[in-house]
Symmetry: C2
Subunit: 217 residues, 2 copies
């Protein structure tokens, strides 16, 4: 639990939702400790972890005397309490457009392509086909949304919640060889974001629990 | 498209996300027209609908000269622009707790139990088993969260975003015979909400496209 001003992120290097949350913490310059919850070892299913976070999912953030789970709830909380570097536009229509893009990733792609779903599929070929199908369907729609909203990033030239959702999903897409050719705007925005120090420091290949063979690759 | 003050909901009677959005519109006393997009007939996949809503999903809301999709983005927008009946607490910690519960439904249960996922499963028995498994896992965690937050409703005695997410998921659970015995708080809160006029009017069995055999059942 967080005490005083200490912030602890319970997460896993390869979890998209942990990755999003790390980016938010970095963008907002919030120092934090990492408590690793290895999904591959099933540490999220232990009574110890579920006492901290009853949903048994990562990430969770201990902050300001609370434990908050659900990456999107965490990021909205950080944006409300640490607004110096905002992650949502100030106008309601802009906020709606950013949340629309973010949720198109966070509700329509991520939940159906994460480890707990892939574990139900029989082999690596089936897993790859499934991720390719679900990701392509989502990216096709997002590409059309971005054609109206993107500047340097998903929504104009400032980093928003939409960018925090998109980059981890593109990372996941690459793992499963999703063909990105039909999504030039997504690809361009993703490449620009990967150059940003907050995104670099949050990358799955630069975490305390990154396996040696993936480190900084 | 919306013109002047007209609000149009593109939705489908049985879509959980359309149901959530109807509740929000009703709670906030926003008059709206319904434009039915039949998922069972594949109307969400037509070029006509995708010109309105590139993600090809319901719901979408034409309002204030914009078309917004993603139910949670729509509801946040309504809450920001029509705050008279708020759907989020005023303090950031309360907002985080409400969003945590709402997203535990909207990101961890709904996306993996909706029609597009069920269509990939081979028969009705497999579909029911899948919905039972994914819903039970989510409800178990949510029940634990509600033990700390619930009053008459999910978060104290005011209706919030969490309630709008929960009720359609309990409706879906009933369709697939999910055993609700282990979730007395969810069951109690759901029963209280079903009595509310805004929830009654939004019910899937009371819509223009409700099939005759389900009407008001």
């Amino acid at each position: 639990m967080s005490q005083n001003n200490e912030v602890t992120l319970y997460g896993y290097f390869r979890s998209s939702c942990s990755y999003r949350t790390r980016i938010a913490l970095n963008i907002k310059n919030i120092p934090y400790k990492q408590h690793i919850v290895s999904l591959i070892k099933g540490e999220h299913k232990t009574p110890e972890y579920q006492a901290i976070q009853p949903l048994g999912m990562v990430p969770a953030l201990a902050i300001d005397g609370e434990v908050i789970s659900q990456s999107m709830a965490i990021i909205e909380y950080l944006d409300e309490t640490r607004p110096d570097v905002p992650l949502l536009p100030s106008d309601p229509k802009g906020r709606a457009k950013v949340r629309e893009i973010a949720y198109a990733v966070a509700m329509d792609i991520q939940p159906v392509t994460n480890m707990r779903i892939l574990q139900t599929l029989e082999d690596d070929k089936k897993k790859a086909e499934w991720v390719q199908k679900m990701t392509s369907h989502g990216f096709k729609g997002i590409e059309t949304l971005l054609a109206k909203t993107a500047g340097k990033y998903c929504y104009g030239d400032s980093i928003t919640l939409a960018d925090l959702a998109l980059v981890p999903q593109v990372y996941n897409a690459a793992r499963f060889n999703v063909d990105m050719t039909p999504y030039p705007i997504i690809s361009r925005v993703n490449a620009a974001l990967l150059e940003h120090p907050a995104f670099k420091a949050a990358h799955p290949h630069a975490q305390p629990d990154t396996p040696e063979e993936l480190r900084n690759k």
